[in-house]
Point group: C2
Chain length 145, copies 2
Amino acid sequence: MKELLYLKDDQLKDLIEKIFVGYRETFSDSKKILDKYSIGLAHQKVIHLLSMYEGISISKLLAKLKVTKQSLNRVLKDLIKLEIIIFKKDEIDTRIKHVYLNEKGKKIFEEIFLLQKKRIYNALLDSSSEEVINFDKVLKKIING
Amino acid sequence: MKELLYLKDDQLKDLIEKIFVGYRETFSDSKKILDKYSIGLAHQKVIHLLSMYEGISISKLLAKLKVTKQSLNRVLKDLIKLEIIIFKKDEIDTRIKHVYLNEKGKKIFEEIFLLQKKRIYNALLDSSSEEVINFDKVLKKIING
DNA sequence: ATTATAGGTAAGTTATATTGACATATTATA
DNA sequence: TATAATATGTCAATATAACTTACCTATAAT
C-alpha cells in the first residue's frame, strides 16, 4: 500500500492552519470599506449572501450563516439603518420574508467585493484550470464532511 | 483567449462562501471537547499552533495569530490555569519566552485534533493525490496574496 | 547612554454571538 | 374547526474574543 504523506497528522495540522489563515485573510482585505460604513465581518457575510442569493428568506439566511435569529436580526437592523436592504413578503406564504439588497446595497457590496476578490482572483489566475478545479473539489468535500 | 469561467464574479463569490463555510466547519467539529475543558476557539488556535511549533516565542505566536498581546495573554492565562503550557526562557536572549504544551496539554490537543482532523482526513482520503496537491497549492497562493 | 525589542498589564470598549423565554401571524393538518 | 407547526420578531442577560490607549519592566543592541 502506498504511503499517503498528506494523510499524516503533521500535514493535516498544516492544512488546518492554512484553512484558518486563508479564511482570515480572505475576509480582512476589505476591512477599510467596512470601516467606512461602520459595519463589521457579520454584516459583510450577510451582504455577501444577499448578493449571491437575491430574495433569500430569513430562515435560509439563518441556515447558511448558522447563527441565531437574534444575531442575524442585529445585523439586519444595522443594514436597514444603513438603508441598503429591502424586504418583500412571499406572495403565496406571507409568513416568509424575502431579503434584497437595494441599489445602494449593491454598490456597497461591489466596493467590498472589489477588494475582497483580488486575493482569490490573483491566486486562480496564477493557477492552471486543473488546479482550480481540484481546489474547488476538495473544498467541497471538506464542507460536505 | 480562453474564457476562464472560474474567474467570473459569480464563481469568485461562490468560492469565498466556501472558504468561509470550510473554515467554520473545520473549527466547529471539536466544540464538545472545548466545552469539556471550558475553553473556546481562541484557545484551540493557540493549542494548535503550540502543537505545530513547539517552543514558539510569544512574538511569533502573535504574528501567526494576528491578534493583540492583550488578547493572546488572556488565552495564555487560561491555559496556565488549565496547567497545560509551560514557558522556558531563551538561553541566549533571555527576553524571549518559549511556549510549550506539557504532557497534559499534548493529550488535550490530541483529543481536540482527533475530532477536528476527521473532516479533513476523509476529504483527502476521498481525493486523488493530484487533487490534494492542487488544493494545497491554490490555498497557499490565496494565503500569500 | 540611548534606543529597540520582548513581553506584561490595566481599564474601558466593541463586535459577535449565545441561551431562554415569550409573542404574533400565518399556514398546514388531524 | 381546533390544534400544531412554521416563519419571524423581541427582551434580557451573558459569554467570547477582540479592540484601543496607555504605561510598565527587563534585556539587548547600537
